[in-house]
Subunit: 198 residues, 2 copies
DNA sequence: TTAGTAATATACCAATTGGTATATTTTAAG
DNA sequence: CTTAAAATATACCAATTGGTATATTACTAA
């Protein structure tokens, strides 16, 4: 059964996630949180142990919804090479899409938590690792199916793609220019078609 | 003549720069600053208008010393294509080098200031623009000297290289793994040799 | 309807925040 | 050595910080 508190908890997370994502952990106060939710400290601390645990829940929520979207998009094809192209295609809308939630949580929390919050940094690392593993798995499947050259190192290539994507996201947000993402996705497509394809 | 205050000012900036870089603007308190410098609020506010101006001075200081190093390294050759290879070579030591100062100031302040501090963000943008302009100039010189293919778009290529570098820096710091930088620099070298070269 | 409990609000806490006015010390010129 | 000015230290400010103990309200099962 879904209790009142569970609904409140979900509501707090949804409301607070973009605030943490935009402002960062230290620059987000409990007052910001109560103001945005319209709730009081009692409700917040009744549902979350402390600010840190709320920030972790918010990060997980953003990543989860992001991952859901990308998997949904990716599953439009069964072909590994098509899947890779669908991933870059997903990121073509990333700037517009993530602007609503205050930017890319992986980039923002990754930088924000470094030297500052061990628990959060750990969560970011886990997510990045998972993304790269999934990318590598798709590439390996492509190799097995003969779509992708056997010369390709799946993990290296996965890391390379992920690195390019994160660079593009950083540049796009810092310079407020979607070009970086579009151009990088073109480069990744080129790489898929000209280097990966068997 | 070099006054006492000028020396103190420089000392404060040097001491405080890595703290701001590591912790971010909001997470760095005036108390952190007085503790690190051994000075009091009087000395800090006697030399800087406020926390924001100090953070800006600290950012400029870090970028200036970083730029000095990269230019010094780059000037080991007169050939544009060699200059490009020397840039990627410089970044091969970037992780170790910037760890001392608490990470890459462009990445850190770029992410930290977004949605938070307009003045700082503006400084970051100016620096990124300058880096890309300088990269583009080198590429153009390479084209004029016949070292680089006339097919190459200097500004696009400059942006592409810069984007890859920033992605590598983010990944290296977030995952605490220098591999991302080394691999990306290999990729950039490959790009220079196989795509740019006339 | 009522009692018990779950959920939220209120009032409060010490510590810290960025910043300032003023007192004190340090410096350099005469 | 003296003195004015420059530089730094001290003491203080209201506002805000994350967090808690307790009071109040909302909900649900009997």
């Amino acid at each position: 059964m879904i209790t009142k508190a569970e609904k409140t908890k979900a509501f707090i997370i949804e409301t607070v996630a973009p605030i943490f994502n935009k402002n960062g952990y230290a620059a987000t106060s409990i007052a910001d949180i109560t103001k945005a939710t319209g709730l009081t400290k009692g409700a917040i601390y009744g549902n979350f142990e402390n600010k840190e645990q709320l920030a972790i829940a918010a990060f997980k929520f953003m990543v989860k919804s992001l991952m859901r979207e990308i998997v949904k998009h990716m599953d439009k094809s069964d072909s590994p090479i098509e899947k890779l192209l669908l991933i870059s295609d997903f990121y073509r809308n990333y700037y517009r899409y993530t602007n609503k939630m205050g930017g890319c949580p992986i980039l923002n929390v990754g930088v924000d938590s470094n030297h500052q919050n061990t628990l959060l940094l750990e969560k970011v690392r886990t997510i990045i690792q998972r993304i790269q593993d999934q990318l590598a798995t798709i590439i390996e499947e492509g190799i097995e199916l003969g779509e992708i050259s056997t010369e390709i190192n799946a993990m290296y290539t996965a890391k390379r793609i992920d690195t390019m994507i994160q660079g593009a996201i950083f540049m796009a947000y810092t310079m407020d220019d979607d070009f970086y993402i579009q151009d990088t996705m073109n480069q990744i497509d080129k790489m898929i078609n000209e280097e990966l394809r068997a």
